[in-house]
Symmetry: D2
Subunit: 383 residues, 4 copies
């Protein structure tokens, strides 16, 4: 690997001054246009984007903006470039950076905390109290690329070195874009206690985070791992990723079935990824006394919750918005070690120029799309 | 103290075979009758009950039964004696017990786990998976005195030594009955992180747990400690117990006020003790990103919850049913050290024989009763 | 599996009243003699011992006694039966036990805490403050089978249900005896933080715990996992169990080599299993600032330690005497899932009647013995 | 307070370009000379130093240099200014800083992590893996003022905002210099578990950290708190700060006495602040099974340690070099709330110009000096 890096580093050329990037004008209005290549500052690198996966949150951002997170409101008409699940090649180093070399392949997590607030000081950088403050007089250096700072639907992006994980030679660009999704699932399991070998886990909802949640839980030794969902083909992918049992909630009552599978005891942990209206209540009835629930998805409207049941049963509920606590590094390690095949959730590939069509596939779930990856076409060029 | 113990121990007489105890027949039907004095088994002692405080949960138990916790349903017509916040004097020791001596004054926490289930093995004895299993073929030795096993509205009660805390000579019987309430508040703060010195805490609801939650938070160095409620006289007691600010939610919007008091940042922790319908939502808007909420109270019916807000802001929610993780010992230590005056919440005293009237005061909040203590009249007798 | 259990359960016969057991008279003086079959009490079962592995600590116990742990001193001339790494079949249930059925195959961990002391209440049952108190007036119910209570070099043994883990049908008796060794390694990694995927670990010393420490660390996703030792054949077994690098300390300076392998950064964790005189100092120079060391072995004499280096570098040192915090269950799950082949460390098998010869092999490391398993010969008999 | 700040802010003048500062030439060679006032960068402020306490580590730095921490070796002949326990007034803000205002009184902790390494990402900023890297090509922004970057024996110093704590109006300059010492003690107790109310603590060594360790442990509710030392006057100050018992190790065996005071059980925690040769061994014999020891001091030479005892008793040992995990904020809160009188350890005051004499007092413990504070004489001047 090092020789490959060296070779590429030797052929290093100064990145260009301008690039093609998708820019968000109004809600849903993206145009592929020229803008300046950004310059990495202290503790940052410039990444040449090689591939980007599309996340449901991208659709939210593009059509609605990330709610309530950006100073001054929604990101429209600000020249903003979305896209947060990308990987690429280090193209330039900010001042003082020696942790990475030009030419190394990297994948990214989303959040770089300010490093100065109480949460960052606790290691909770994804709960940074200066979220979104990257511009103007109150620039605190926070970055959430593709949310509040420019993201990966472009030829180049700037990343804080804290957000990088190395990609081994054997891992494809497409697979590398899935690391942050696995990292989000890993963060959920980390907050749930992390020592899950031999413990029982339900994952509710076979979307990308849920499916990789199954894979990560199984890789860590959880047993049984139970997956619930509404579509058999998704559940089947869950089985391939390690689910010991799957429950199609259209045909079976998931709480009853979980109780039967656990001899009436309930499970130790639920990783909720369905955003269903009754998901929290069902989770609370699936876990045993003192059990833990991680909410990695949520219904957009308030829902009825049986708070009494949560309190009477000493249940812990953790909300997570994305990755955190360096869980992406743990997930990357498991993927590098081939503990599971994340590419099972990669269903479609498009060229960067075809982003709108790729987004349509994601939005309308055309052809039962799970993860759609958009690839850059600059691969023939020098770095 | 030891000499006092020795003196009393020397005058030790065998406890009587029969005692007077309140027995629950139907819902709300208590009668003061004779029943056998129970015998302490391994790791248990017999406690001569000297004083008992009345808790809102006692009213639930007496009129409705502890919901869904007892094998075979509600505790009516089983000869059950309620009452869980009591203190007294060690009257006899089970086999092998040398941790306590006859004659020592003790106060109690409620739960003695089975010691064999997964939760007990984790130290989470109040989340014992064998909750309620104390009788018959499936006797696992779990005790929740006053809930699933006989409690303290009687002359004598049996307690696992795990549930005892010593009472110093300087502490009155009445104050000692409040230790478990302070212990519940302490458990909430423990689960919230425990290192609260210099951190900001809101306590919602100035009932007994909330008021002592203020006291414990302040004793541990939290600042500011903010108390919300609807009654000014309760809030005033909260101020005496250490609240830096109080908010009467009838006159002010508590979320707005908390935000103003914290310069728009929100607080680190909320200890919710109000059981109000919107309490969880308000708590979620009072804490900052990554903040923590402990639910020590709950509305009996399901309520609308803005789950999305909890997830988007990485908020942690802990439900606690009572005390736990030896927090009662921590609370007892602070009370022994006179860090706060728990007796400020003790408003009325009745004789044991007058329990029905004491319960009426508690139920109807006659004379703005907060904590009512029922005292035994055997004080003149030998142990 | 259940049918097999049922079949065996149907053929259940009352266990015999007397059995053959190895009894320790003086230091090193074992005789195979008759003694009564013990009776399981509350929360206990009777296990018919099918196989026992020999641990270095058995040699200590048999020749020196477990130091300073037993009331009244060394276990000689008390009719004591050693042996702690055993597995077998449930032969009878104590009163109230329904967690296991007669006929189920089980393996054991060593320690059953008293359930009443401060440490047990914290979930630290292997640090029970009533260690060794199982007999006489101060009987607190603590068991450390093979250390302070009768162990497994016998036909039958009594075990608290807390010490049991189920053995799947596919797992051989011999492999099942290794679960507690893997559980000790798992406890070390658990105390070190547990979330070791992608983190770097050095294991020093390729004895049984060290070798399974490599296996467990790798199964959890640690990378790199580095093993140090003095014998190439042991290191080679370490490679088969997952070591990414091995260092023969006779040929290379292990600190220098670890530094080279980690690009000068040092590792995150060291699991010390060598008992070498300079092991702690070397470990402290292998970990990075803020790193963690678990001592699972120790030199018998005091050694020179560079405490200043530990303090200056914010290093954490955890001593563990054996398994703990239910880690044995986590290890058992990984073994059931075939994450590593523990039988690679099983080198020799003897019949129970040949225990003295088996002990000689272990003591003198005849034929480079690693793990020696002693098997009972009652397999043809009914349970 | 705000009006006072505003008033001072209104009278704000640009800080001068040059200042008087003590500069370290050779070992022990300090000269008071002119050098440029440093400029605060992003996330930094300029502090006008009002008072500085002298720590034993200052003597090490001045006569020996901070060992092995600075790139390129000892800090001699580099224009370095020592001094790390200072407080002062915010004199200028770096770009983007709005967390503090010019004119606010602040005290400091020592370490500002790089924010980019693994440890900083975990919240362990005092274990920053880029310790000392503040200069030249590998500038990672780490600061340890008075160790690796310029400190407080000067008119002005630059501080990362992470290192600041506000000083209330009621707190004197002298007392405010003691916050970081209390913060170090608090960090030790935090790492020991933090929930120390009602738990037993031994503090060994009545130096500044030990004495404030007694105060913090007591403020958090520990009982008993036992202090050991060699000088009765120091132990007497310990009693005033909250020690329930003191042991003069010249007259009594501290292990025996601790065992007697704890009825043979030993204590839960030891905070070791003596640097005595046998301190770790004695601590290990003072704690109970599963107990915890924090080493906040260390002998400079390797010492004999009974590692076997540590392992056999599941003892945890934490080395800490200074403050950490925002413990300084917790300590500052307790001091603001007047939970203990830290000024009891302040014995002498000198003018900044008399630093050499102040250092002599500290070094030779003239007049039984504990904490010596050096004060600036610019107080009459405008900020």
């Amino acid at each position: 690997m090092t020789s490959a890096v060296d070779a590429r580093a030797r052929s290093n050329v100064t990145p260009p001054e301008r690039m093609r990037a998708w820019v968000l004008h109004g809600p849903g209005e993206l145009s592929f246009e020229e803008k300046p290549v950004p310059a990495p500052e202290r503790a940052e690198v410039l990444v040449r984007v090689d591939a980007v996966a599309i996340c449901a949150t991208d659709l939210d951002v593009i059509w609605h903006g990330p709610p309530a997170l950006i100073e001054g409101g929604a990101p429209f008409h600000k020249g903003f470039t979305p896209g947060h699940e990308y990987m690429g090649t280090v193209a330039a180093l900010g001042p003082g950076v020696d942790e990475y070399q030009v030419g190394e392949r990297v994948t990214v997590e989303i959040h770089a905390g300010c490093g100065q607030c109480k949460r960052c000081r606790q290691g909770m950088y994804t709960s940074c109290l200066n979220y979104g403050l990257n511009y103007g007089a109150r620039d605190k250096g926070h970055r959430a690329n593709g949310f509040t700072t420019d993201g990966g639907f472009a030829e180049y992006a700037v990343n804080n070195i804290n957000t990088l994980a190395r990609v081994p030679d054997e891992m494809s660009d497409e697979e590398a874009t899935l690391v942050v999704t696995a990292g989000t699932a890993m963060y959920g399991l980390t907050e749930l206690g992390g020592l899950v070998a031999g413990e029982s886990v339900v994952v509710t909802g076979p979307g990308p985070i849920g499916l990789l949640g199954v894979a990560v839980a199984k890789a860590l030794g959880a047993q049984p791992v139970i997956l619930t969902g509404t579509r058999d083909n998704r559940l089947e992918i869950g089985r391939k990723l390690g689910a010991d049992h799957t429950i199609n909630v259209r045909r079976e009552d998931p709480v009853e079935r979980v109780m039967a599978l656990t001899h009436g005891r309930g499970v130790d942990y639920v990783l909720e990824c369905s955003a269903a209206t009754d998901a929290l209540n069902q989770a609370a009835h699936m876990v045993n006394r003192g059990g833990r629930i991680c909410l990695a998805a949520f219904p957009h409207e308030p829902v009825m919750v049986d708070v009494a049941h949560i309190v009477r049963n000493n249940i812990y509920v953790f909300g997570i918005r994305g990755e955190g606590r360096s869980a992406t590094h743990r997930a990357a390690a498991l993927m590098q070690q081939r503990r599971f095949d994340a590419t099972l959730i990669h269903t479609h590939t498009f060229a960067m120029a075809d982003l709108p069509e790729a987004l349509r596939y994601a939005r309308e779930r055309v052809d039962d799309a799970i993860k759609i990856v958009v690839k850059s076409d600059h691969h023939a060029a020098t770095l």
